[in-house]
């Protein structure tokens, strides 16, 4: 599930603050905002301010429809076996409406579940013939089975997360191997291989991702690394000291661009004590 920023409310922090002063008007009537003590609430109470961003985060916290359903059931301290389909369906639809209202891009999985709930609800409502009752399965059975199954694995995921693991709780013990005597062989890499991998990577990123891969001017990037390495062991360096004479004007431009880029990325500070005075460059303190 991916989130889109709500168009009106979260364009800036100021807007959010203003919104806290006036209650949110629901776009459509009768869709409950939440259920409190069994009563549907369709207008946010004036004294309760939930920043729209926070709401998105809450909704994003659900791993999917099963997770949301489970939450709704547990919130009422109900056993899964005692699930009241009509009530749960109502609450579930409330959340769906809320997600739509804040323009959260709704995963199709949520709608599939909504349809399933509606179907179960209608089957529960249908009068059952006494003759058939013996063989007829409780319409809720499948849903309950799935909920239980999901809950087991949700718990298993927590257990796995709690296991002691490398790099967090335990650490591999290693000793250095003295150089000279011992030589660990390394895999060989071919430059054309690297290029081909990079090319495929860019294509993949272009095709499947929404973000764009900007191809940076290589020389500027290189110079950025170069400058960072040089500043690592120095407190201040003059801008001139970063230049190399034989590079000429282009060298100055490239270095200057690299410095600007580093400033933009907050990696270095540039200090000038007086107007037209010399520029000093320093790596930011870690």
């Amino acid at each position: 599930m991916t989130a889109k920023a709500p168009t009106e409310n979260t364009s800036s922090g100021e807007d959010s603050l203003q919104e806290s002063k006036s209650p949110r008007q629901p776009q459509q009537d009768e869709m409950p905002f939440a259920v409190v003590q069994g009563h549907a609430v369709s207008v946010v109470p004036k004294d309760l301010y939930i920043p729209p961003d926070a709401l998105e985060i809450i909704l994003e916290a659900f791993e999917g429809p099963m997770d949301l359903l489970l939450y709704l059931i547990r919130r009422q301290n109900l056993n899964i076996l005692d699930i009241d389909v009509a009530e749960i369906t109502r609450q579930y639809m409330g959340y769906i409406a809320l997600m739509k209202e804040i323009q959260l891009e709704l995963a199709a999985d949520y709608l599939v579940m909504a349809a399933m709930l509606a179907e179960i609800k209608s089957r529960v409502l249908l009068p059952r013939l006494a003759v058939e009752e013996a063989e007829q399965e409780d319409p809720r059975a499948e849903l309950i089975r799935r909920l239980q199954e999901y809950e087991r694995f949700k718990q298993a995921a927590d257990s796995i997360d709690a296991l002691p693991r490398l790099e967090r709780d335990i650490f591999l013990g290693t000793a250095a191997v003295p150089t000279g005597q011992l030589d660990k062989p390394h895999p060989a890499v071919d430059l054309s291989e690297l290029l081909s991998v990079f090319g495929q990577l860019l294509r993949r990123a272009e095709m499947f991702e929404h973000h764009r891969i900007e191809f940076e001017n290589l020389s500027t990037r290189e110079r950025m690394s170069d400058i960072l390495k040089r500043l690592k062991n120095q407190s201040f360096a003059t801008f001139e000291s970063l230049l190399t004479e034989h590079e000429g004007r282009l060298g100055v431009i490239v270095t200057f661009l690299a410095v600007m880029e580093l400033v933009k990325e907050s990696l270095i500070d540039v200090v000038q004590t007086e107007a037209f005075g010399p520029l000093h460059v320093k790596a930011k303190l870690i």
Binding site: E63, N77, E87, Q148, I160, R165, R168, I170
Partner: protein, 213 residues
């Protein structure tokens, strides 16, 4: 070859390898002429384990063999060595991993069925790249979906020597058809309890079986 040298070779190799080593691999370090019997190697390992009793590290067995590792209780201090905080894994990833671990071999579809959401191919790729999950075959149905299983690296990473050491999977409660009119009543008000906070605790018993396969 004297016993002390054998022991030193074993210790040195385990620390140099930066990965777990099996007895068979340790054996291969010695010339055939000098090769100690496996029992002796096992005894050496036990000796080292005993000597590490009070040390900051221990020699343990995980899925792919023996390794030295820093004791868990020291993690609060050791973690200060690194600038980055230990990585946290998303719930989606952990749930997927749990399904592969307990239900293996599974297809992506199997995982989706239980989780109720689409599982991205990136997720499966990440798990494979971490070396925790691998494709062990294909199910013989249309599309021949890949079947995933966990690897030894997965066990190594989580400090386990076999799948049977995984935390027990909670058992499902039987859904008994208590078809009481009351429960089926749709207009009924849901009983509200005083403590209806987000009590997510499970009410499953402790007497479950081992890994569910």
């Amino acid at each position: 070859m004297n016993a002390q040298l054998i022991r030193q070779v074993v210790e040195g190799a385990l620390l140099a390898a930066a990965k777990p080593l099996e007895i068979a691999q340790l054996e291969q370090l010695f010339d055939e002429a000098d090769r100690p019997p496996r029992d002796q190697l096992r005894a050496v390992i036990e000796d080292v384990q005993i000597d590490c009793k009070d040390r900051g590290y221990e020699l343990v067995r995980v899925a792919s063999g023996f390794r030295f590792q820093v004791r868990e209780k020291l993690a609060p201090w050791i973690n200060r060595l690194w600038e980055e905080k230990p990585k946290r894994y998303s719930r989606a990833m952990l749930e997927t991993l749990a399904l592969v671990a307990y239900r293996q071999p599974v297809t992506r579809g199997d995982v989706e069925l239980v989780r109720g959401v689409a599982v991205s191919s990136d997720m499966m790729r990440t798990l494979q790249e971490r070396g925790w999950v691998s494709v062990v075959g294909h199910r013989d149905v249309p599309g021949r979906p890949a079947l995933y299983a966990t690897t030894k690296e997965f066990l190594n990473y989580f400090n386990l020597s076999s799948l049977t050491q995984l935390p027990q999977l909670a058992e499902s409660q039987e859904f008994t058809e208590r078809d009481s009119e009351l429960e089926m009543t749709l207009s009924g008000v849901i009983p509200q309890r005083a403590d209806n906070a987000d009590n997510l605790e499970l009410s499953f018993g402790d007497d479950q079986n081992l890994v569910d396969r």
